[in-house]
C-alpha cells in the first residue's frame, strides 16, 4: 500500500507473521520489522503482563471476546495480538446498537470488549452496564491526541467510560453502472424514489432503526433523530411503501452489492471505501439533506469474563501503528492525530473518508433518545414484520 518506513503493508505484515509462526524468524525480528516492537515496548513498560514472553502469556488468559460491527477490523491485527499475548480473539458481529444493548440487558453476554456508538453511551452508564475505564491499563490511549468532537461522548460526568475507535458517516452506496446514464443521485429523496422506481428490487436498507428510520425521515426533511409521532408516522408510511421494492433488510450489504444482486444500499463510510476500492463503479454518496455523523468507541461491559485480556486488546488496537493498519484495512477515519501522522496523504485526502465541509455540516450525531424511544423501536419492528 505504501513504502513508508513507519508501517508496513498488510501483505508484508502477514508474510512476516507467517515466517514468525513457522519459526523461521525470531520474535525480536518479527516485532522489529512490523513496528510492533515499539508498541510492545511501550506496552511492556506500562503493563508487565504484556511483555512478550510466552511463559507470561497465560496471565491474561487464552481468549478475549469482542463484540463489534461487520468489516470493522484487520484480521491480521488479531493474529498479531494472539501471537504476542497468547489470547485468541473471538469476534461477534452485530448489525445494530439495539442488538448489543439487548444482549447486555439480558445478561451473560460473555463479552470483554464491545464497540458502542456515541449516542448509546449515556444509556449504558445509566443502566449500569459498562464500567468506568481504568485508563492506567490503556497506556496507548492519549486523550490529548484525540479530536474531542469524536472522542468526547466517551466521557460521562467527567469519567471516561469508552475510548474512541473510529468515526464516520452514514450515506448510501450506489452502483453507478446500473444507472443507465442517469446522473448519480445526491439526495435521500432520490434514494427512496429510485428504490420505488428504477432500482426496484435492488436496494438494501440497514437492519437498524437509527439509520433506516433516520434516513426515511430525511426524505421529508425532518431531523434524523426525530421522535415526533407525526414525523415518525410519515417515515413509516414511506418505509412500508418501499418495502416490497427492497432487495433485503440487512446491515451486512457488501456481499450482495459486490455480487451485483443489490445496486444501492444505506452504507457506512468504511464499507463505501472498501467497495469503492475494489469496484470503482460503486460510489459513496452523502445525502444533501444530511444524515448521520457518528463515532464508535471501545468499552468494557460490567463483569467481563476476561477483563484483563479485554483491556490488553483495547490497548493493542489503539497503539498508533496497529490502529493505522486497521484504518488502512477498513477505511474508517480515526480521531487520533498520532494515527493520522502515520497515514499516507492519499488516505487523508480521500473524499469518502473526509467529506467536504458543506456535506459534513448537514449531518447530525445520533441522539440518545432514539436508542430507547419505544415508538422508534416498534416502528422498525413493524416495518420488518409488515
Amino acid at each position: 500500500m505504501t513504502d513508508r518506513k513507519d508501517h508496513i503493508s498488510r501483505r508484508a505484515f502477514m508474510d512476516e507473521l507467517q515466517r514468525y509462526r513457522k519459526g523461521s524468524v525470531t520474535r525480536r525480528h518479527f516485532l522489529g520489522v512490523t513496528g510492533l516492537g515499539a508498541a510492545a515496548a511501550a506496552l511492556g513498560a506500562a503493563m508487565p503482563i504484556l511483555r512478550p514472553r510466552p511463559a507470561l502469556a497465560q496471565s491474561i488468559g487464552d481468549r478475549v471476546v469482542l463484540a463489534t460491527w461487520p468489516n470493522y477490523h484487520d484480521p491480521a491485527n488479531f493474529e498479531a495480538f494472539t501471537a504476542a499475548t497468547g489470547a485468541a480473539v473471538d469476534v461477534n458481529v452485530f448489525g445494530s446498537n439495539e442488538e448489543m444493548l439487548a444482549k447486555l440487558q439480558a445478561g451473560g453476554s460473555g463479552w470483554d470488549v464491545f464497540v458502542p456508538t456515541n449516542y448509546t453511551i449515556t444509556t449504558y452508564v445509566s443502566e449500569d452496564l459498562i464500567e468506568p475505564l481504568d485508563l492506567a491499563l490503556i497506556p496507548s490511549y492519549d486523550p490529548a491526541a484525540f479530536d474531542p468532537r469524536f472522542a468526547g461522548p466517551g466521557t460521562v460526568d467527567g469519567r471516561t467510560y469508552a475510548v474512541s475507535k473510529n468515526w464516520g458517516t452514514t450515506g448510501f452506496a450506489v452502483n453507478t453502472s446500473q444507472l443507465g446514464g442517469a446522473p448519480v443521485p445526491t439526495t435521500w429523496k432520490e434514494f427512496w424514489d429510485m428504490t420505488r422506481d428504477s432500482f426496484s428490487g435492488r436496494t438494501m436498507v440497514h437492519d437498524y432503526q437509527l439509520t433506516t428510520i433516520g434516513n426515511a425521515l430525511k426524505y421529508f426533511g425532518y431531523s434524523f433523530n426525530s421522535v415526533d409521532p407525526k414525523e415518525l408516522a410519515d417515515a413509516e408510511k414511506l418505509l412500508i411503501d418501499a418495502k416490497p421494492h427492497l432487495f433485503a433488510i440487512s446491515s451486512d450489504y457488501q456481499p450482495a452489492m459486490r455480487s451485483g444482486d443489490a445496486w444501492m444500499t444505506i452504507c457506512w463510510t468504511g464499507d463505501g471505501k472498501q467497495m469503492n476500492r475494489d469496484m470503482p463503479e460503486i460510489a459513496y454518496v452523502l445525502g444533501k439533506e444530511g444524515g448521520e455523523l457518528w463515532s464508535d468507541f471501545y468499552a468494557v461491559p460490567k463483569g467481563a469474563p476476561h477483563r484483563e485480556a479485554g483491556y490488553a486488546l483495547i490497548n493493542f488496537l489503539l497503539t498508533p501503528e496497529v490502529n493505522a493498519r486497521e484504518a488502512l484495512f477498513h477505511g474508517y477515519p480515526t480521531a487520533d492525530s498520532r494515527v493520522n501522522a502515520l497515514l499516507p496523504p492519499e488516505v487523508l485526502n480521500d473524499p469518502i473518508l473526509y467529506p467536504a465541509a458543506e456535506l459534513l455540516d448537514a449531518l447530525e450525531f445520533g441522539a440518545a433518545v432514539t436508542l430507547t424511544d419505544p415508538n422508534r423501536a416498534e416502528l422498525m419492528a413493524r416495518f420488518k414484520a409488515a
Binding site: 440487558q105 432487495f247 433488510i249 450482495a256 455480487s259 419492528a381 414484520a385 409488515a386
Partner: protein, 284 residues
C-alpha cells in the same frame, strides 16, 4: 405406599423435575411477562395490562406467513421424502442401504447456518439464475423470496421426514404385498391399498415433527428471505433482541404456542378420524 410405588416415583422424579424447571417454569415466566409493560430502556416492567394481546394484530403478517409456509414446507418435504424413503426401504440393495442412509444424514454434520449461507450463493444472481439465463430461460429473482425460504426449508428438514417414513416402510410385512399380487392386484393397486396406508404412521410422525419445528423457524427465513419473508420466529427475535419489548414478545410467543396447540390438535383429530375409518391401520 408400597415399595414398588416408591421405586416408580424415584424413577420418574428426575424427568418430572427436568420438565418442571425447563418447560413449565419458562412458560409461566412468558405468561407473566405477557401482561407486563416495556421498561423505559427496554425489557420488562411489572404491570397488568391486556395491551400486548390487543396489539397482536401488528404481527398478523408474520402469523400468516408462518401458517402458510410451515404447512406448505411440510407438504413439500412429504412429497419429496416419500419416493426417497420408498427407494431406500423397498428397492435399494441391502449392501448399499446403510451407506445411502448415512448420506441422508450427512448434511446434519454441518451447521444449518453454514448450509443456508451456501444457498444464498446458489440462489443469488450469480448462481442458479445466471445458469438459467445462460440457457436462455430468463433470469428470475430467487433469493429473498418465499420460494427461496421454501427451498431452504425442504433442504433443511427433508431428513426428518425421510427417516420415519423409511422405518414404517422397512417394517412393512412384505408377505402382504405378495398376497396382494397373488390375489391379482396390479402393482399400483397394491401400493395404494397396502403400502400407502401401512406407511401412514411414518408420514404422520414425520409431518408432525417437521411442522412443529417449522412453526418456530427463524433462521432460514432470516438468511434466505433477506428480512422480507418474516416468520413469527423472526418477530420474536426482533422483539427480544432489537426493540427489547419483552412483554409484547411474550404475548406473541404465548399466541404462537396457542396457535400450535390448535393446529396440532386439529391434525391429530384428522389423522385419528382417518385411521378410525379403517381397521387395518393404527397410528402411533
Amino acid at each position: 405406599m408400597t415399595r414398588r410405588d416408591i421405586r416408580t416415583w424415584l424413577l420418574v422424579a428426575p424427568a418430572a423435575a427436568w420438565l418442571l424447571v425447563m418447560l413449565v417454569l419458562p412458560l409461566v415466566v412468558v405468561v407473566v411477562f405477557s401482561f407486563g409493560e416495556r421498561a423505559e430502556a427496554g425489557g420488562y416492567a411489572p404491570a397488568f395490562t391486556l395491551d400486548n394481546y390487543l396489539n397482536l394484530g401488528a404481527r398478523a403478517t408474520a402469523f400468516a406467513n408462518t401458517l402458510t409456509l410451515a404447512p406448505l414446507g411440510t407438504l413439500a418435504c412429504l412429497v419429496l421424502a416419500y419416493p426417497l424413503a420408498y427407494f431406500l426401504a423397498m428397492r435399494a440393495s441391502p449392501r448399499w442401504r446403510t451407506l445411502l442412509l448415512i448420506l441422508v444424514i450427512v448434511p446434519f454434520w454441518t451447521s444449518i447456518l453454514i448450509r443456508s449461507y451456501a444457498w444464498i450463493f446458489l440462489l443469488g444472481g450469480q448462481g442458479i439464475p445466471s445458469l438459467l439465463n445462460a440457457l436462455g430461460l430468463g433470469s428470475p429473482r430467487l433469493i429473498n423470496t418465499p420460494f427461496a425460504v421454501l427451498v431452504g426449508i425442504v433442504y433443511g428438514y427433508l431428513p426428518l421426514m425421510v427417516f420415519p417414513i423409511y422405518v414404517s416402510l422397512d417394517r412393512l410385512d412384505k408377505r402382504l404385498l405378495e398376497a396382494s399380487a397373488d390375489l391379482g392386484a396390479p402393482p399400483w393397486r397394491s401400493f395404494l391399498q397396502v403400502t400407502l396406508p401401512l406407511s401412514m404412521p411414518g408420514m404422520a410422525t414425520g409431518s408432525m415433527l417437521v411442522f412443529i419445528l417449522l412453526m418456530g423457524e427463524f433462521l432460514i427465513p432470516a438468511m434466505l428471505g433477506g428480512g422480507k419473508v418474516f416468520f413469527v420466529g423472526n418477530a420474536l427475535v426482533d422483539l427480544f433482541l432489537q426493540s427489547r419489548n419483552w412483554p409484547f414478545g411474550s404475548a406473541v410467543a404465548a399466541a404462537l404456542v396457542l396457535v400450535m396447540l390448535v393446529a396440532v390438535t386439529l391434525y391429530m383429530r384428522f389423522t385419528r378420524s382417518w385411521a378410525g375409518t379403517r381397521d387395518d391401520v393404527s397410528l402411533m
